[in-house]
Amino acid sequence: MNQPPFTVVLIVPTGIGAAIGGYAGDALPVARVLSQVCDRLITHPNVMNGAQLYWPLPNALYVEGYGLDQFAAGAWGLRPVHQNPVGLVLDAGMEAELRLRHLQAADATRATLGLSLTEYVVTDEPLDVRLQTSASGATWGTISRPDSLLRAAETLIHKAGARAIAVVARFPDDTGSEALHHYRHGQGVDPLAGAEAVISHLVVRSLRIPCAHAPALMPLPLEPDLSPRSAAEEIGYTFLPCVLVGLSRAPQFVGTPMAGSTTGPSTGHSMGHSTDIWASQVSAAIVPDSACGGSAVLSLAEAGVPIITVTENNTRMDSPPEALGIFTYRVNSYLEAVGVVATLRAGVGVEALGSALAPLHSLKHDA
């Protein structure tokens, strides 16, 4: 038995209203099960982060979305680590009480979980997060001072030795919008998610370091009819613990500095480690059926990686695989997707498990 590790990529894009994984870390149960039927699971913060709740998976790699796109394109590799010192960036736009809540949450992860954190940095300007919803219904967002965010992250890297960056940005409070009402009832699109992704993407793209984000918000009034899928975000003062846990063991990115998107392992990384993971080692990827139009899925599909799409996980997107020329194993549920992964890993043809198995046909020779 000398087979390569069976490596699965699980993607549930954030901010697109995914029925499973569009709320408060509610795709984490999927990741927990998948991690049992593969050797390595590569997934991203939206799947793993449940605010105060988290579940470390020994064989899971926590990869921020921009890094995941670069990995899938073959531009960056992933280097597993035992531990990252995590640096914390706090938005200067945060009130003193909120800042203290987050510092106490960070200290709690040091004392109770044994995480390694560096000193922290407050940005030299308020980041000024703006939330937006696009024509498709997806949420996006921007910050007015990306330069201030990057200066703070660079300070943590160069002055404090941080190997991963957790960002806490002050998000606009919302106590009564229709979008928030739907979100708290397990419907609609996470109004914060798109802006969160932009913040972490900016740091990962600019500094090539693991990064994840937690929004700082004032607590909401108690909601008696809160959806279980949204509940993890309403059991504490911060969303930070899951971010720090994920980043503490997030893989580092490897590749040639300033490599172009076409740079692959053969030309882009002269000092590779045997533990480095590249896109060419991915065995399968799982994505919502309606959301095949992201960079990572397009790259992996082009590379011939088997793609499993889940129709039950509805999203606001309308990018099904066949419209993009992607052949997939289309299943209804994640339960079935787990079965397909187990089947592929076992080296069994998926069609052999169905009742209808057509006889072989003769191919014609090329003229």
Partner: protein, 86 residues
């Protein structure tokens, strides 16, 4: 950890390019393979800035057109008011 804050005053001269973040929407023709479509999306977005996060949010099957939403980075003089358009 919580008792000290690293002072990064004076680091404005650090070699960090000043950028703005902008939300844009484009349309591209669906190509014969997913990789070619991805390449065309990236090329189309380059005219607005460097793509930071993007997705094909919908596809017009009749016209074979992909609708793309993206957040791009744009280099600008400092300081500047951010412009947002979809």
């Amino acid at each position: 950890m919580s008792t000290h804050s690293d002072d990064h005053e004076g680091l404005n001269s650090m070699p960090i390019q000043l950028v703005t973040v902008q939300l844009v929407a484009v349309e591209v023709a669906v190509q014969s393979s997913p990789g070619k479509t991805r390449t065309l999306v990236l090329q189309s977005l380059q005219s607005f800035g460097e793509p930071l996060r993007w997705a094909i949010t919908g596809i017009d099957r009749d016209r074979q057109i992909a609708h793309v939403e993206a957040v791009v980075l744009q280099d600008v003089p400092f300081p500047v008011e951010r412009v947002v358009s979809v």
